[in-house]
């Protein structure tokens, strides 16, 4: 799969992905499962990532719950549930190589594979997310 990238101010945004305002991305794998991760902007804000605190496989969350916590040298960030979900798989390779999140946030640096257990509506398209980023960047 080629991952077509849009870019704003040096921050990459994967075109086929959906986003949350809080910088999570969601990729529909087409079989009812989704990959989730955090955007290039988010990893660049957190800087060097060092650790991910995963939930258990099989755990369920409601939209807006904190699902995963990512930790960098001097900050930590909550990853929120984009919709009601169940955890199918977590990216355990990040335990040894958390830097993958910095190097390839939309690919090898994904966080988990999830199953939607409710409506998946209400996410931003890549273009809409770029508009949000513009707002954030203007505030900086």
């Amino acid at each position: 799969m080629t991952n077509e990238m849009l870019e704003i101010d040096g921050y990459k945004v994967a075109k086929q992905y959906k986003y949350m305002e809080t910088h999570e991305w969601v990729f529909d794998q087409g079989d009812g499962t989704y990959k989730i991760g955090i955007s290039d902007y988010a990893v660049k804000m957190l800087k060097e990532l060092t650790y991910v605190e995963f939930p258990e496989v099989g755990e369920t969350f409601s939209k807006g719950d904190v699902v995963i916590v990512v930790e960098s040298l001097k900050a930590s960030g909550d990853v929120y549930a984009p919709f009601d979900l169940e955890i199918l798989e977590v990216n355990e390779s990040l335990e040894d190589e958390p830097q993958k999140m910095n190097e390839d946030p939309y690919g090898e640096g994904f966080l988990a594979i999830i199953k939607a257990t409710g409506s998946v509506e209400g996410l931003l398209t890549a273009e809409e997310y770029i508009e949000k980023l513009k707002e954030y960047l203007a505030e900086e």
Binding site: E53, V66, E71, K74, A75, S76, D78, E95
Partner: protein, 457 residues
């Protein structure tokens, strides 16, 4: 809003403006609405005297302070983890050195390298004494460290019962209660064995089950005794999938096995006696130690100091590590709400222990035990004193009954004669826990025994 001077009082108009216009409430008391109404003082307390001039006030309080006894002028057998000790002169000299300080408070990452190194040394020393391989840069005291250990066990196991496997002081129990109860964590306390300072084993076994997050054992316990079943208690704890938390009087570790050897998962304790004065009960030094696990370490409370190396030159440096789980970064979602600690008392204890060295520390520990043995023997010779649990092993504290009906009066009589005859046990004031320190000499013990003979005659 116009600026108000922090040094001058505000007028009632200004107060009204601050309350109503700025924050939109009518009455300053509304700011304290979280506090139960019956606990709020409705009018100012009546002062016994006054108004006074400054010299009059100074004299008033000097006279008042004279009512306190100076513990250094008494022979005190108060123990229970906090001890009057001898503080060598070099300690003050070293702890005041400029290399240890910057303008930053001690819990900020920019704190001086000297302080960071001392805290790293403190952690390493405590790791050696407890046998555990991770030690945080300290907690407030033994009690809060025990509370944090219970919370960490709950985080690690997902269970909600804490079983107390020793008699513990009322103060410690109070802190545990405050830490745990509001979070829905239950404290389970089996009864003491008859005529024994230990918990009933059968009942303890029953209390430990699939809901147990941690079993908390004190070595020595609040009555002064060392539970010979520590190893077995650890085993039944682990069989139930719970964490084995051991609380220690750190001074005893020059003589007793490190808790790691009887398989403690978390070790907490009091380190005040490592060069710190009793400080009226605080600041003290809470020790918190556990074993490394990549995930567990992030569920641990408090600050951790790490050593690192400059990539090119290999030069060593010290730094606060794993900060992202702490309060100053993670705010309300922090692993624990302790990101400050007792840096100064921890640093003092590192200096103190380094000066003692392993041999000196062993001698200190053994010296305390020998003193306690001597005192026990002296008291056993007295007919009117009942030395409790004579068969139970102890370190530097043990329990007695003096056979008096009015304990308060007895304590005052003894204090007037220059002795604090121990600590009356919280749940039975006729039982006194006596603790010795290295300040005590054979003459002190002999004089104490003679005085008791006279007073109790």
């Amino acid at each position: 809003m116009k600026p108000y001077s922090p040094y001058l009082g505000v007028s009632s108009e200004e107060l009204k403006e601050m309350l109503q216009t700025t924050i939109g409430i009518d009455n300053a008391l509304e700011l304290f609405s979280d506090i139960p109404d019956d606990l709020i003082l409705k009018e100012a307390p009546k002062l016994p005297v006054g108004p006074m001039t400054e010299p009059e006030i100074a004299e008033f309080f000097t006279e008042l302070a004279k009512l306190n006894k100076n513990p250094t002028e008494l022979v005190s057998f108060l123990g229970g983890g906090v001890r009057q000790i001898y503080i060598p002169a070099f300690l003050d000299e070293v702890i005041r050195r400029g290399e240890l300080y910057t303008a930053y408070t001690a819990y900020q990452p920019e704190v001086a390298q000297g302080m960071l190194q001392l805290l790293f040394e403190y952690q390493s020393l405590m790791a050696e004494l407890t046998g555990m391989n991770v030690v945080n840069a300290s907690m407030y005291d033994w009690s809060t460290a025990a509370g944090e250990a219970a919370l960490m066990s709950v985080r690690l196991t997902g269970k909600k019962n804490i079983v107390i496997a020793s008699p513990i002081s009322l103060a410690r129990r109070g802190v545990l209660h405050n830490y745990l109860e509001p979070q829905g964590i239950k404290i389970v306390e089996p009864y003491l064995e008859k005529n024994s300072p230990f918990i009933r084993y059968e009942e303890l076994k029953k209390a430990i089950d699939e809901n147990t997050a941690a079993v908390y054992l004190e070595m020595p316990n609040a009555l002064g005794y060392i539970d010979p079943r520590a190893h077995e208690i650890g085993e039944i704890t682990h069989e139930a999938g719970a964490k084995f938390v051991v609380g220690v009087d750190a001074l005893s570790l020059g003589l007793l096995k490190p808790p790691a050897e009887y398989n403690a998962d978390i070790v907490v304790g009091e380190g005040q006696a490592f060069g710190n004065a009793p400080n009226y009960g605080g600041p003290l030094l809470g020790i918190f130690a556990f074993n490394y696990d990549k995930k567990d370490i992030r569920r641990a409370p408090g600050k951790l100091i790490g050593m690192t190396q400059q990539e090119k030159t290999g030069e060593k440096g010290f730094t606060i590590t794993l900060q992202a789980r702490e309060q100053h970064i993670r705010r309300a979602k922090a692993t624990s709400n302790i990101c400050t600690n007792e840096s100064l008392t921890a640093a003092i204890s590192a200096i103190y222990l380094s000066a003692l060295g392993p041999k000196g520390f062993k001698e200190l520990s053994l010296g305390l035990h020998k003193r306690a043995q001597y005192l026990k023997k002296k008291l056993q010779e007295l007919e009117m004193v009942q030395v409790m649990f004579p068969q139970a092993p102890f370190f530097a504290d043990f329990s007695v009954r003096y056979g008096v009906s009015n304990h308060k009066e007895f304590i005052h009589t003894m204090i007037d004669r220059g002795f604090v005859p121990g600590y009356p046990w919280d749940y039975d004031p006729s039982l006194f826990v006596l603790g010795v320190s290295e300040l005590h000499t054979r003459q002190h013990f002999d004089r104490f025994a003679n005085t008791l003979k006279e007073v109790l005659a």
